[in-house]
């Protein structure tokens, strides 16, 4: 970093030219074809960023181990301490057991994976998975949790994958009401705060009224998501479009920020998953979202 204020004018012009070339290269990146973007992303993630991404996974695992130690100490110290310390552990346990139960029922078409969140600008709706193409994950693999659909895999390396959750502006899913009366496309709606983010079921027929409380699931159309994954629950009408289509506000079943483990679709088996969320038959519309079909007493 040498001072350049006293350098000859020619040198400064040359320097400005280099700057202009680099500036042009930076802007060219905006128009880079997606396959090249993917290559650059993968290279960066596999080299410079790898230690930081791996460290987060290790920290997460270390945190879980520390919880265990705390638990053991608490058991030794006093019964009241055990009760206090079990609160977070029981929650973690419940999640993992629910995921385990879900995996048993989804079969080999889904693989469990650890989910890592990145706090970088522009990465708010993305996550990294510690599972990749070696395990059969591919671009477009659905990512589900016991509560329902979390998102979709966006990019895959051999050992890791990057995905977007339903809050991402580009997220779309072909959906239907659980009773199959109305079909549409689900897309995100940004709230004033991230906690207010919702989904919208767009393109539903105008003549079909979908009552609040109706569950919305993936329809299986489009070949991305298997049929029957719970997306959320209708909470009201968003708008009527030009008198022949309606949009409905959907309360999502999954809160992305709370997810630490998920199941990722592997292979191209698009079996009907309605049975996992008990939405195979006509939906009564009276139940709230988020009932993941966990067998009674399996995790409590």
């Amino acid at each position: 970093m040498n001072d350049y204020l006293d350098e000859p004018r020619r040198s400064r012009w040359r320097d400005l030219s280099v700057g202009a070339v680099l500036l042009a290269a930076a802007f060219l990146l905006l128009f880079l074809p997606p396959q090249y973007q993917t290559s650059v992303r993968r290279t960066m993630r596999a080299t410079v960023l790898r230690p930081f991404i791996m460290a987060q996974s290790d920290l997460l695992a270390g945190g879980l181990r520390r919880v265990d130690v705390t638990e053991l100490r608490a058991q030794r110290d006093s019964l009241s301490a055990v009760v206090a310390a079990q609160a977070s552990l029981a929650e973690e346990n419940r999640r993992l057991r629910a995921l385990l139960g879900l995996q048993e029922r989804t079969g080999p078409s889904f693989q469990a994976a650890e989910l890592v969140r990145v706090g970088m600008e522009g990465g708010g709706s993305t996550f990294l998975l510690r599972i990749g193409s070696a395990a059969g994950v591919h671009v477009g693999s659905p990512v589900i949790v016991p509560e329902g659909l979390l998102g979709v895999v966006w990019d895959v390396d051999r050992g890791t994958a990057q995905g977007i959750d339903w809050t991402h502006p580009d997220f779309r899913a072909s959906a239907m009401t659980a009773d199959g009366r109305a079909y549409g496309i689900v897309e995100p709606r940004r709230g004033r705060f991230r906690e207010e983010d919702r989904l919208a079921l767009t393109g539903a027929p105008f003549h079909t009224d979908i009552p609040a409380g109706t569950r919305v699931v993936t329809s299986g159309r489009g070949g991305i998501y298997p049929r029957g994954i719970l997306i959320g629950t209708v909470v009201g009408v968003e708008e009527s479009e030009t008198g022949w289509r309606k949009s409905y506000v959907v309360q999502p079943a999954v809160r992305p920020a709370a997810v630490t483990h998920a199941l990722v679709g592997v292979g191209d088996d698009h079996a009907d998953l309605s049975r996992l969320w008990n939405v195979a038959h006509a939906d009564s519309g009276s139940t709230a979202a988020g009932q993941a079909g966990i067998p009674p007493g399996s995790d409590r």
Partner: protein
């Protein structure tokens, strides 16, 4: 390379590593300061236009690799910021904390607006509050952190 230049390089490198540790390893979002922008702004003040654009491009690539929004938006934003930061020495000369604070504040604000435009997030959010509330608050936060870091840096006898 002088001892002072080495010191500046180390500070910039530490800021980049610190940003990745806070935002990637620890997964802290907006609660952690934007040290990447700080690194580009501080580095650019000591670099010529070309290297400053290169520094910006490199930092932008780091961010773009983890972002699912418009690829290249961060690279272009940081490259512009690098060149402007470098050129700013020809226009504004100052070593005071007030000047440095203003420079960092304006730089970060400009960064946020540029990124918002290039990432096309203008369409999907509340632009007014993002530009007039979120961006200035983020800029203020980063400026505060930047002044503390530069205070420590100057305590070692080095100039900005």
């Amino acid at each position: 390379m002088s001892r002072e230049a080495w010191g500046a390089s180390v500070v910039v490198l530490l800021l980049i590593v610190g940003h990745l540790l806070l935002h990637v390893t620890l997964g802290i979002g907006r609660a952690a300061p934007d040290l990447l922008t700080l690194a580009v702004l501080l580095g650019a003040r000591r670099l010529r236009g070309g290297p400053a654009a290169g520094l910006g491009l490199g930092c932008g690539l780091l961010q773009d690799s983890l972002s699912a929004l418009a690829f290249g938006a961060a690279s272009a934003t940081y490259a512009v910021l690098g060149v402007l930061g470098s050129r700013s020495r020809d226009v504004f000369v100052g070593e005071s904390a007030l000047f440095l604070g203003l420079y960092l504040f304006c730089g970060k604000w400009l960064h946020d607006i540029l990124y918002m435009v290039l990432a096309d997030s203008v369409r999907s959010g509340d632009v007014v509050s993002a530009v007039l509330v979120d961006a200035p608050v983020g800029a203020l936060y980063m400026t505060g952190v930047g002044l503390v870091i530069m205070g420590a840096y100057r305590a070692l006898g080095w100039r900005v």
